[in-house]
Amino acid sequence: MQRMIAVDRLARPDEIILVPVERIRESRIDQGLMPNAVMPLEEDFLKGRLHGIATGEMQAMEAAGRTLFDFPDAPWEFQLDMARQVWDESRHAEIFVKLLEYVGSYLGEFPESEVLWSCTQVDDPACRVAGINRGLEGLACDVFEQIIRMGQKMGDPIIERAVDYVLADEITHVRMGSKWMRKLTEGDPERLRRAQEFQDNIDALFNFDGFRTAKEDAPQVPLVLGGTQVDFDSTLTISRETRLLAGFTDEEIDRLMKAAARSSAY
């Protein structure tokens, strides 16, 4: 079996439309929208966000499986952690597919981007866990915390509890990523630097050009969500306490917040 399956060879059934993330951005620019992400103010926010997570969970499942396969010489405990993550992500994918149905959407209603899978193109397990477990799953911690608060505001325990259940796993995945980034690079500062740099690139990709704020600083605007009007964040928020639970340091979170604030000044 082939190692490092290229981004444009990611297999999907016919009814799924896969689009490179650059093209999704281009489509948003063509329509006069913020290029990077579906924002809370947009009509399809809840459906679009849950769809993005459902496909992200699927790719996270595939990516953890590929990492297991691509690095047969990695420590046995690392392989066990990756196998456990495949199992976790498969449950998450099922949960989000059901949540899509709950909000009146379905898998395939929106295009799927390949951004998570692109992290599997790096030929170093330390970089993979830095990019996927720390970068992308760290982002997931923020995104999930925001959806949980949204569910609370909507008075919707289904969304609130389902996402909270998944968040508990994501926190362990970030911790797992931190552990293996450290262990795999022990005694090799250059390799650690490369892994951190890889994660920094992922973080930079998702700072959303200034449309991220600390959750406490998010301007509140009236939104209609699932048929209910609520005042809610107009930005994509960063949740310090969730990231601390996941094992990020205050220094790392400060750096992320500063980067988000810097890009809002442009």
Binding site: R9, R23, S105, L107, P111
Partner: protein, 130 residues
């Protein structure tokens, strides 16, 4: 997804939102455009594409053998705000099917092409094509 039947008769939480359908005018435009692509009708298609996607469409038409395709099937569509991605397959008796993907968006009341990509031979199969 499997058909789950009449959910209102099922125990448990009911959906809080309804599915939305793609605009019929978009689907009609997609059918028309796919016919024109199969026929390699460059003259007609030139008026149905935004300028920045013209070269991409031209390359797509160039990769279609003349007179090879007589019918098409839309196999998927996906919503990107007010635009739609449409994945389709062209069929002909003596040719391998040809898979392509368009992005359509309305401008001036007409649905036109914003992207055109040849997917044949990749990106659509379950496994082992490459």
């Amino acid at each position: 997804m499997p058909e789950l039947g009449d959910r209102s008769r099922a125990i448990g939480p009911q959906p809080i939102g309804e599915r939305s359908a793609p605009p019929p005018a978009m689907l009609a435009a997609a059918d028309r455009i796919l016919d024109l692509i199969a026929q390699r009708d460059r003259a007609m298609l030139n008026g149905m594409v935004v300028e920045k996607a013209a070269a991409e469409l031209e390359a797509l038409i160039d990769s279609i053998p003349a007179t090879a395709y007589v019918s098409h099937e839309i196999i998927a569509h996906a919503k990107a705000n007010d635009h739609y991605y449409v994945k389709a397959r062209l069929f002909g008796e003596n040719a391998e099917s040809f898979t392509l993907q368009l992005r359509l968006g309305a401008r001036g009341g007409r649905w036109i092409i914003w992207e055109a990509v040849n997917l044949t031979g990749g990106r659509t199969a379950w496994t082992s094509q490459g």
